[in-house]
Symmetry: C2
Subunit: 440 residues, 2 copies
């Protein structure tokens, strides 16, 4: 089957990420989509250097400076709008729809403000406008809301959906520094833009919240009625006082259905219980908590921005569109994600060959030299120690518990070490073995 | 358009949840699916009382005791298998497929063991076998893996995917009680079954892990090669020692692609860093952490079992199948989840009308009676106080900070109270107002 041709509009952070991931993972992606997805054209601009970058990186694509050429090219089936903003992007997206092309976009401002117009046009033309990347970057929250939670009356959604603000708040809390100082640091490290207004004033979060509310409650986009209060006026005193009271302050987007009244739609700094999962979403990460009447609370967490995380969502949309055009509808999504004839028979690794960290608890005689013997055996098996804990002997007892945490090691080496350790005269009974993962 | 007819096999916890949620939310679900989904037949058994329950609750359905009758009924388009087990369920599912019916199932054991056979049969017949409810209950993790993360090479998945075990481990950690005692409590409270073997020995988690690994890596089901070690042998000492070292013990399902070696597939108690989000998944909740090469880590959290959470996933699958049979493919999933002609124009609630908890920081003269004046004003506006914090005056200063947390109140009442409070002679400057949400 021929590749599906995609035209990329914009070659900034996200555009170059899409190119890179699509090429790096072409094999997996084709096996899942049932067809190769190929970016044949890229629109970029000379002024910001993206044209030259695209020419250098995208050898197999045609690079143009007029995005409209791509939108009107009959060979292009999907237009991927990654320019941003609400003017040129709107014109291009509407024209692509008029040309009968599917559109994939990461543009939250465009959808929050002109979504109703765009979706109506797409519906009339029978084309898809996919926008997973517009909300919460790499987190598949749009899919969860539109397809995963369809059984539910959604009661409310609370989202940490602006990574820049969350990074600033996390850093203010950890360091006690002022908003202005942390913002400067965030700008220096590339976490905040030179003009950070959209991020720190809650506008960006309000765009994303508007889109989620529309999907959750089946209402039109109403960005103009969203309330947005940012984090610029927060003092580090308030962050500290909140902490003392058992709370943390997060920039939260809240939308809630209030029976008989309507929909709350608001973004503002919010105290939430310090022990909640949401309060522990730190740095530039995003998370969305959704309360459905049947499922209860569900939470979705991941990178809310960045080149490859956002590309992950853009490409998921490309695969969605491709699957629609490739297989018969019943087999649209293969049972095991990969097309049935593309499964690979990868072997399962035997337990002796796995790698993990280990927790070892030993009962040993409380006498000098015991630990030296044990560590010597571990070192012989190339097992290095990460941490060590010795519990004092209870009065009158001659045996103590020692606990050893190891760095990652091969499990069979652990087995061999344990056999030798358990054979020591100073070690009593079997060693308790637990595995350990850092989840990094 | 006619309703889509569904036959329900099994009327236990999940089956009755599906009936209940589908009927309660029929309006939302139809607006999303584009068509009514109607359970016309229910198969239940006299022996366990489910037949009588179904007769009482499902007045509009035909109740039968022979599930095969439903499977072979030409008017049924979708068979919903909620019986469980790997014998009768296998026969029914294969026969439903042979009859050209779509199947929705929550049966992890069936798929982990016979999935390859079942999916091959379904592929040949061109029918869907949907199984969101088979893994992690209400969390839409199958959809995330099959559709949301298609751009990624999945590196590993770590899941807390057995609620019973997680409840027992959480309780052991909180109370210091032994495994045996906590298990008894869990059985009494209905969190563990009379025969808890599948849960506490890691078998149930290994079923779910097998399914996720197949989807993530595009490999066949290989449950027979999965390693499963349960929590029955864990001592409360180990839980305490792990805590001292900065870790928590969770029953984790881990699957990882190891270059050149294959796929690790293992369930066992695992130490993970106490500060990680996964370590803070408590009680009977589930969470799955997925590491993709492009998106990085993403986490999915929610109820892993229970009547309505599991029903949420079953119905999401029913909507998926229905959408496939209702609209033209391009409009399969409506842009805003609800069919375009089914959007409702719900008003946005003005900020003055919202309800929230509030954090108020005031600077007041350090003199008797000040607090009484303030609390009096709040009470007049029907605002009750949840917590209160007074910071000592710095030496030489005559003003102190006081912080008040309120219970939920209407925002306009807060505005009115603040206007009066700021007019007090003893209150200096503006009151700082932040909102507060308990996320419950």
């Amino acid at each position: 089957m021929n590749p599906l041709n995609v035209g990329l509009l914009g070659f900034g952070t996200v555009g170059s990420g899409v190119w890179k991931v699509l090429n790096r993972n072409q094999n997996e992606i084709s096996r899942r989509a049932g067809r190769e997805i190929r970016i044949t054209h890229v629109a970029a601009r000379a002024e910001d250097g993206s044209f030259a970058r695209a020419q250098e990186q995208c050898r197999s694509a045609v690079i143009v400076d007029d995005a409209m050429k791509i939108v009107r090219d009959p060979q292009i089936r999907i237009v991927c709008e990654l320019i941003g903003g609400t003017t040129i992007a709107r014109t291009l997206v509407l024209e692509a729809i008029a040309q009968g092309k599917h559109v994939v976009t990461a543009n939250k401002a465009l959808l929050a403000i002109h979504g109703t117009e765009i979706f109506a046009a797409a519906h009339e033309k029978g084309v898809m406008v996919a926008f997973e990347a517009a909300v919460a970057g790499g987190i598949p929250i749009i899919k969860a809301l539109r397809e995963g939670l369809t059984a539910n009356r959604i009661e409310w959604i609370a989202g940490i959906i602006n990574g820049t603000s969350n990074f600033i708040l996390s850093t203010m809390r950890e360091t006690g520094a002022s908003f202005a100082d942390v913002l400067r640091e965030a700008q220096a490290r590339g976490y905040a833009e030179a003009d950070p207004t959209f991020d720190i004033e809650g506008i960006d979060a309000a765009h994303k919240l508007t889109i989620m509310a529309a999907i959750a409650f089946g209402i039109p986009m109403q960005f103009d009625k969203a309330f947005a209060e940012g984090i610029a006026k927060l003092s580090s005193d308030d962050i500290r006082y909140a902490e003392e009271l058992g709370y943390r302050i997060k920039l939260l987007g809240m939308t809630r259905h209030v029976a008989g009244k309507g929909i709350e739609l608001r973004v503002h700094p919010t105290l939430i219980p310090a022990k909640s999962l949401m309060a522990n979403v730190e740095g530039a990460m995003n998370a969305v908590l959704v309360k459905g009447d049947a499922v209860g609370p569900t939470l979705y967490y991941g990178a809310g921005a960045g080149s490859e995380p956002t590309a992950s969502s853009v490409i998921a949309d490309l695969v969605d569109v491709t699957r629609m055009h490739t297989t018969d509808p019943e087999n649209r999504v293969p049972h095991l994600a990969f097309q049935a004839d593309k499964l690979s028979d990868t072997p399962v690794v035997p337990m002796a060959e796995i790698q993990s960290g280990y927790y070892l608890r030993l009962r040993v005689l409380d006498r000098p030299g015991v630990l030296a013997e044990i560590t010597h055996i571990l070192a012989d098996q190339k097992i290095s120690i990460e941490a060590f804990l010795q519990k004092e002997a209870a009065s009158g007892e001659t045996e103590v518990n020692i606990i050893i945490l190891t760095h990652r090691a091969i499990e069979k080496n652990i087995y061999q070490a344990l056999a030798k350790i358990e054979a020591l005269e100073t070690v009593k009974g079997k060693v308790t073995l637990l595995r350990m993962e850092d989840l990094q």
